[in-house]
């Protein structure tokens, strides 16, 4: 099951600390310069708690979860 939440990132705030990718490799990988590449799809329910932790752990508060319309 998927939630109706998606990960979003403020690209100007993001400094490429990379903690999010360490916590949530299922949805976030890092590019060659250690900036996150984020899975654009809805967050699966089982990963929602870890996603919440990744959001809270971002040192510059660039990562967020946004509610989006569920596509059927």
């Amino acid at each position: 099951m998927n939630t109706d939440l998606r990960l979003t990132i403020d690209r100007i705030k993001c400094d490429g600390h990379g903690l999010c990718a360490e916590l949530l490799p299922e949805l976030i990988s890092l590019d060659d310069w250690s900036y996150p590449i984020i899975d654009p799809g809805p967050i699966p329910e089982r990963l929602a708690p870890i996603a919440q932790r990744a959001v809270a752990t971002c040192p510059v508060l660039a990562l967020a979860m946004r509610r989006t319309r569920v596509s059927k």
Partner: protein, 403 residues
């Protein structure tokens, strides 16, 4: 050169048309308010700053957002695209057409402030607009000021314009919120390119049916173009929408030597093989159907004698340097792409760099606050396909050719 509508009237070489001459020639705009917005929607006019956003819909959005308070109108005359001159020419010759459009917007959207945002290096355009503003009625002058856009590529981006006016830095900001929702001083802000406003000034006089009454191959209206590169007489001209690239280049006297490719839309645009480019109609809708865009209306003709790889490397270096260095994927990604292009140009084809370019071209787009990285990558991808043979067997040279 020639003009059909925006550039009709006195010889462009005689400079800016004065208010008295402008009013004698065209009369005063008839339409305003809500009917003007609906007329703009029906006209199908799209923004001419590059993104082609439907003008009527943008005005509707600002009007709705500003229903409870004042709005701001930004007249965008920051023409950052190096090959583009149409906005500078229009400002320097028909400033009152632009100002008519700006104050129609201000009245229609009940804006308390109008900002003329003009490239500080566009000296002729700046002084023509300043002199024209001084000729306008006191009620218009009182709400208007001028702001200089720094000579940077991204300064003309709409959130960057708002950011400069608000905070003195012409760098893009994270959207949403978009300027039309929350712009200068946090109020709804219309950011509109100068050519677009000039079209509005005429549509307000003559209506949407008139606007659509010219155009070829099913297209509507006219467009300003800058013809650059290997042509006999480069410059700005106005053509009917739907005119083909070949016809537009022909109208300036044609190519000066055999052409290999066309760069459509400037550095934010795409390379097309010349044979494929000639028949393409210059019209937003027709171009969208082919996965293309008019962008800022630059048609750059690439002579066959020039090296496509070296020119691509030169332009990628420019685009990398013009990153506003706010978003990592843009700042580091474009720099890496540019370095790989330069290595290919200087040392010749190598498989590793080609592979890197292809991987990064997938990873980098969509990961900046503005569309700068997306545009640079789209430009690069078009180079890799248009100049595929040259990229596959590029010799170790770096032709330091002037732009």
């Amino acid at each position: 050169m020639s003009g059909l509508r925006l550039l009709a009237g006195p010889d462009l070489r005689s400079g800016a048309e004065a208010l008295a001459d402008h009013t004698r020639r065209l009369g005063a705009p008839a339409l305003g308010g809500r009917p003007l917005i609906e007329t703009l929607v029906r006209s199908g006019l799209g923004g001419r700053g590059g993104a082609s956003f439907p003008v009527g819909l943008k005005w509707r959005a600002v009007a709705a957002a500003a229903s409870k308070g004042p709005a701001v109108v930004i007249v965008n005359g920051a023409e950052g695209e190096p090959q583009s001159h149409k906005d500078k020419v229009l400002m320097a010759t028909r400033p009152h057409l632009i100002l008519d459009g700006a104050f129609l917007a201000a009245r229609t959207l009940r804006a308390a402030q109008v900002v003329l945002y003009i490239g500080e290096e566009h000296r002729k355009a700046w002084s023509a607009m300043a002199l024209a503003l001084a000729e306008r009625p006191e009620a218009e002058r009182r709400i208007t000021r001028m702001a200089g856009a720094p000579n940077r590529y991204v300064a003309g981006e709409s959130s960057a314009a708002v950011h400069l006016i608000d905070a003195g830095a012409a760098t893009p900001t994270t959207t949403p919120p978009f300027p039309r929702e929350r712009g200068v001083a946090a109020v709804p802000t219309l950011v509109q390119n100068v050519e677009t406003l000039a079209h509005v000034a005429l549509i307000a006089r003559y209506g949407d049916a008139w606007y659509r009454s010219v155009g070829r191959r099913g297209a509507a209206g006219t467009v300003l173009l800058t013809i650059a590169g290997g042509v006999k007489s480069p410059g700005v001209l106005e053509v009917e929408a739907g005119t083909t690239i070949e016809e537009a280049v022909g109208a300036t006297g044609g190519v000066s030597e055999p052409a290999a490719a066309v760069l459509l839309g400037g550095y934010f645009g795409v390379w097309l093989p010349a044979m494929q480019a000639w028949e393409i109609p210059l019209d937003g809708e027709a171009l969208r159907g082919r996965g293309l865009a008019l962008g800022c209306g630059v048609i750059g003709v690439q002579p066959a004698a020039r090296c496509g790889v070296c020119d691509t490397a030169r332009i990628m270096r420019y685009l990398a340097e013009e990153s506003s260095a706010q978003c990592g994927p843009c700042f580091f990604g474009l720099r890496a792409l540019s370095d790989a292009c330069s290595r290919l140009a200087e040392r010749g084809t190598n498989r590793d760099d080609i592979a890197r370019l292809k991987r990064w071209a997938v990873e980098v787009p969509g990961r900046g606050a503005c569309k700068h990285p997306d545009g640079a990558v789209m430009f690069l991808r078009s180079a890799l396909s248009t100049f595929a043979d040259q990229f596959a067997s590029h010799p170790a040279h770096w032709r330091q050719q002037p732009a």
